[in-house]
């Protein structure tokens, strides 16, 4: 009886794990795990220590990136913080993000993160980019030129309102 039940128990999880491996890419599974980790860590941060903890978390997520993504992410972090110093760094699904009033305002997803052909700089509903009945909230970034940097700065300034 004991043998039988052990057999059933060991078969089920491995079957489920195998099919999960087929359905999700390594990058996707990593992102889910990182997100779980970042949320548990954020829940443990003491009031007043959010900025330092977030800065550490963001730096760690940037350090994991290959070049040239790492340099691009670091530069975007500088641009965002220079445009709106009140923002608090906080990782967002394992990518650098910046929050306002406890909610993520914008994020930077490096190209290498999901093996995409471009980086993405995106904003969330907390951002005040509203313009009529339809407005852009996320952008593909091929690389950082002075024009692109100026546009990111402008977006962040407008987003904080």
């Amino acid at each position: 009886m004991a043998t039988k039940s052990t057999g059933v128990k060991s078969r089920r999880p491995s079957a489920r794990a195998a099919s999960t491996d087929e359905v999700w890419s390594q990058e996707e599974r990593d992102a889910i795990r990182e997100t779980a980790r970042e949320r548990r860590a954020a829940a443990r941060v003491k009031p007043g220590e959010e900025r330092a903890a977030g800065e550490t978390a963001i730096r760690a997520s940037i350090d994991q990136l290959p070049e040239p993504d790492r340099s691009v992410a670091l530069r975007v972090h500088e641009l965002v913080m220079a445009a709106a110093p009140a923002l608090i760094p906080r990782t967002f699904y394992g990518s650098p993000g910046w929050e306002l009033n406890g909610k993520t305002l914008c994020y930077f997803q490096a190209q290498a993160k999901y093996k995409a052909r471009y980086h993405t700089f995106g904003s969330l509903p907390e951002a005040k980019l509203d313009d009529g009945d339809m407005w852009p909230i996320a952008f593909a970034i091929d690389n950082l030129t002075p024009t692109v940097e100026a546009r990111i700065t402008d977006l962040v300034r407008r987003a904080v309102g």
Partner: protein
């Protein structure tokens, strides 16, 4: 002190539903023939619309008309449980999706494009849009974007 280890505590109900929907979609798509693909994809899309609150459903239905009219060859499907459209052909990649505001309980709906969309414009270009209301102008902009995206 409470222990927070279960992923149930970390992810919201909406996030878990989206991930589960995507897993189902990928498994289902793997078993379909190209002929079944369009029909099954359309059925999935309609089922996703049927689950939405009335205002989101109305917007989704109208977006379906706009996209289908703009580029009839696009394949309807769902993507993380959202209405979406893929390039035709085997392994055609999703190029755009409609994320109703009720999906993650936010203040606007989103129409977004994936990397296979051909919207490239210089070094930086918009890939996702907040949509409040489908005015004639918004409808024209969406149709133009979808046409451009499908190249």
């Amino acid at each position: 002190m409470p222990t927070r280890t279960a992923s149930d505590n970390v992810f919201t109900k909406e996030e878990r539903a989206a991930v589960q929907a995507a897993a189902r979609e990928r498994r289902a798509a793997a078993g379909r023939s190209p002929e079944e693909e369009r029909e099954a994809g359309l059925a999935d899309l309609k089922a996703a619309l049927a689950k939405m609150p009335p205002d989101d459903r109305a917007m989704g239905e109208r977006i379906h008309e706009i996209v289908s009219t703009a580029v009839p060859s696009l394949m309807p499907k769902t993507y993380y449980g959202m209405p979406a459209y893929a390039m035709p052909g085997k392994d055609g990649k999703t190029i755009c999706f409609y994320k109703a505001k009720s999906k993650f309980k936010v203040r606007y709906s989103t129409f977004g494009f994936q990397p296979d969309a051909k919207l490239d414009d210089g070094k930086m270009w918009p890939t996702e849009f907040a949509v409040i209301e489908l005015t004639p102008d918004v409808e024209r902009r969406l149709a133009a974007l979808v046409k451009q995206a499908a190249g």
